[in-house]
Symmetry: C2
Subunit: 210 residues, 2 copies
DNA sequence: GATAAACATGAATACTGATTCATGTTTCAT
DNA sequence: ATGAAACATGAATCAGTATTCATGTTTATC
């Protein structure tokens, strides 16, 4: 039985990209279901069975496109990174003044987060499920941020100061406000959050000299 | 055999506090091992077997003091909350000026985080393992923070602005810098991080009017 | 110094859920 | 039309591990 025959079957595509329109669609369905399910229940509670049933396919189908549960998770983190950076870059396109760019970028980020709460939570969980992906996510983010701050500084658009630490602090603000939206369900409109944060970032909280 | 006898044995202390010095010590050992193991490997990878072996007790002993694995986790989150708030309150004791208090509090927080990296990661993971505890942690934190900002505002020590949003933003900065220490292993000394963050918080990044 | 409660043990239980596999079905190039 | 590759199925496997339990040992009280 098992008339294997040809010794070198070409079955082992590493990432297993689909080669057909049908396959493409199925893979997308699984990825999207994974995003929703993992985002909602967390990595561990999100069983393959639940993900596949949510995607409308059989359990085994999952393993045609992903080697492990972790793999689909990592892919989601990467996707989130790409999307967020793209969204922000787009929104700050052509804005010359750094402080204005800051405001536009923060607004775009918060809007994105509100539209994709699942992806947001997935990135948070990556710290434990896939630390490497987590670091890459924030490091990539920081690189761009710091570069922007540095050149703005050289152009005299912002005051001097350690660009790296500032980048982290500003990312921390964005993250905290995003969490307000997604985790704490604040009622405040994004514009209001941005207004307050922008004032803090631009002017600080020290009272004006009297 | 098993001459049970008395029908109503008083075995069911809910939280199961120890009643003996020995018990006290064992419970502490388990809690401390759990902190290290869960902090290092994350909630799911941290098996009861590993925790107890790390604590130097048998597996069953765990269930004398904790009803479930989740219970010990929640307790750690609570402990972290108490410790952090206590540490910060202590460090800002008697400082009248809000901005100075901000600096002292941030320094104390970062030093605490560096000293307890495990607890820090545990709080992060609580978002998925015990969302209620996560919210309580940050809500309690925010309450104090916002109150402080509000009264400082009334006293004219800081400029006017939405205290709640500001509280979240400032907590975001602290958290991001803490993460630099614990997750990204930055080489920068705490004092330097605080210096940059403080300048940002007090003055913002807008260049001084020329 | 005896008795009961408290504490400790670690093997056995019980269950969950990721991954595999033998067996179809669909797609597509020829 | 037809054979091979791609895709799909879902039951079976397999491993890990939280929790329980029957059985000892220690502690403290009388």
């Amino acid at each position: 039985m098992t008339s294997a025959g040809h010794a070198e079957a070409p079955q082992r595509t590493p990432g297993n990209q689909p080669k057909t329109a049908r396959g493409e669609a199925t893979r997308k369905a699984i990825l999207s279901a994974a995003e929703r399910v993992i985002g909602a229940k967390g990595y561990n509670e999100a069983s393959i069975g639940y993900i596949t049933s949510e995607a409308g396919v059989a359990q085994g189908t999952f393993y045609i496109y992903f080697k492990t549960k972790e793999e689909v998770f990592s892919e989601l983190v990467l996707e989130m990174g790409r999307l967020v950076r793209h969204t922000i870059a787009e929104s700050t396109q052509g804005i010359q003044n750094r402080l204005e760019a800051e405001k536009a970028g923060l607004t775009a980020f918060l809007e994105f987060v509100r539209a994709h709460p699942d992806l947001y939570r997935i990135v948070q969980e990556a710290l434990f499920v896939d630390p490497g992906a987590y670091r890459e996510y924030y490091t990539a983010f920081e690189d761009g941020y710091r570069a922007g701050l540095s050149s703005a500084q050289e152009a005299g658009q912002i005051s001097p100061g350690d660009a790296e630490t500032r980048a982290w602090a500003l990312m921390g603000i964005a993250r905290a406000l995003g969490e307000q939206l997604v985790v704490f369900d604040t009622k405040k409109p994004i514009s209001e959050l941005v207004e307050t944060a922008y004032d803090l970032i631009a002017n600080g909280i020290k009272p004006a000299e009297s």
